[in-house]
Symmetry: C2
Subunit: 404 residues, 2 copies
Amino acid sequence: MPPFDVPEGDPFGPHNLPYGVFSPPGSADRTVGVRLGDHVLDAGAAAHALGSPYASLLARPTLNPLLAAGRTAWSDVRRALTAWVTVPAHRETVERFFHPLSEVTLHLPFEVADYVDFYASENHARNVGQIFRPDAADSLTPNWKHLPIGYHGRSGTVVVSGTDVVRPSGQRKAPTDTAPVFGPSVRLDIEAEVGFVVGVPSEQGSTVPLGAYRDHVFGLCLLNDWSARDIQAWEYVPLGPFLGKSFATSVSAWITPLDALEEARVAPPARTHELLPYLDDAREEPGGYDLRITVAINGHEVSECPFSTMYWTAAQQLAHMTVNGASLRTGDLYGSGTVSGPTERERGSLLELTWNGRDPLELPDGKRTFLEDGDVVTLSAWAPGPDGARVGLGEVTGRVVPAP
Amino acid sequence: MPPFDVPEGDPFGPHNLPYGVFSPPGSADRTVGVRLGDHVLDAGAAAHALGSPYASLLARPTLNPLLAAGRTAWSDVRRALTAWVTVPAHRETVERFFHPLSEVTLHLPFEVADYVDFYASENHARNVGQIFRPDAADSLTPNWKHLPIGYHGRSGTVVVSGTDVVRPSGQRKAPTDTAPVFGPSVRLDIEAEVGFVVGVPSEQGSTVPLGAYRDHVFGLCLLNDWSARDIQAWEYVPLGPFLGKSFATSVSAWITPLDALEEARVAPPARTHELLPYLDDAREEPGGYDLRITVAINGHEVSECPFSTMYWTAAQQLAHMTVNGASLRTGDLYGSGTVSGPTERERGSLLELTWNGRDPLELPDGKRTFLEDGDVVTLSAWAPGPDGARVGLGEVTGRVVPAP
């Protein structure tokens, strides 16, 4: 079966066409690839063969040039790619530039500039508040409903799906201990998130209003914000998470363009507090996405997290991030924050799923409170697409290896 | 007077030789420059003329290739430069590659990878604690003496000295207000810091012990971590500073190599708490620097901050930052945290100098609690050098311009 003829209902059919960077079999060269079913199209080679003007954006070792090209170019390239894999006249030319997905090496698809992580799920924030501040009058901090809380993470440790994650060591201190101890984290956790990839930069001193979101953001990926809860708990007051997060952040190898997610757009939850004008999206187009993220440990599904429940949208996060005049760069990445729905099996972290270890998960290979060495965590997701099809997001997977 | 013959006692004499990136008069091209007195040597052009093997590191538009070259190359290049500007046989060749400092354009000298900011001054941390948590039993948080507290900042908004800083807008909320308001920050502040520039990267999953500090860190600069205290106060619980800091961070145009600061090394303050082995520097070479940073507003000196009082050293900060396996990249920048000494006129922020606005500073042009539009802030510094000379650090200056 030629790669064009993906099975009916394949979530990576021609309605999807996510972008990545790969090396062909037997080569160390990197170039932009587009996924179709279980194959990868060498998009730059195809563009050259077809005399396409987009070869200069696609025959590149990273997505950054395409990201920087802007919304009109994004649409034009997507339209061209769709034609190449669906119009019979192009198919013969293009067919030889496909590789089976199983035979290529996938790389981090873009050079990450700044990485910001948000905290946009009300369910997640309330769960965390109840776990760590059980005596507080409100499980949310007073600012939570007024601004999308976020912080900067370490962009140099963002890795592509499939990269092993070394268990971090660090300081931890139980409230009853008199001094901290040092050692490998004993509360290694995941955070199931969606990551948004900025294409078009902005000037320092200017802002990016809500309505300009789609002029700047190219697409999205899945993201696992690995977290060492014990390290984080001891270090994070007063300046926030640092070593509890900075050891690794995994992203999917495929970036799904926003244009592939038109049918997935939904309104975010009703707002309970009046928003300042720069965040008030009542008159904007729907800012949420109906994505469902599945979390699996060693192949066993432990959670399904509904992204549609996120209180703050990606457009609001972008408007907030720039309202102080901070500039955007091509390759900026921002995470949604852990995606947790209202029910027990819709939570995006083990912290919540096991209620800080109180209620272990029963897996086929034993109980889990937090991650054990050798555990493989896999996030996968899909969204509704055109004509009842599903749009698949690239999975993000990683294996925990022991501390040295 | 030829540029070699800097006046006796010039803090930018041949014992200093900091590195920057400049454009010659009438050109937009960037190349590495070395400062001598009030002149800049086009180091790449000089290297080419002398047939030096270091031309490939110096005839570049950024310091990154030199940073990545490693400690042996750093020493070799410095030795060569010293010879070029001091040995008569080289002077005739090199003289034509000098430009007056006043005629060149200085640029951000390196591409910033990740930016981390620490909080290493005990005086600063205690002052902030007393101002914001007056009822707390201890002005330091319980973790402060056990680890160097830090967080990631926005590397995309690091700018070179001389760049205007636009007053940021954002949310603020007084405790007595029922909801936040939006507008230009009314508590815009400075933080006088030293920045450390990483040259040699490290692998993800590995650590950089205390003793490897000089194998990885190339040199240091002055750094002003502009801070909007009102925005910061409302946003920072629980995930730390974000928009209150991310709008701009200014660094000096000159990076002083560690080799120029040998005579400035001093032991840090006596440790009051036992340190975990990875931070215990009792048997290491002295980790502090005897730098004095002067803070001036519109040319009027308001503070002189002694860097030798910093509790945590740059080597400890590097060891801590990587102890969880986080990798380093060429161009990583980390700030020391605000430098504040024990007395009132040794404080590195207006927050402390005016005790959160309670005690305004009397300047020739009026009182100051926080910064006003048009204010020019300048940090300068020197350290002891060989034979009684001073080693000057490049100044970092910036003017506050009104919010749009």
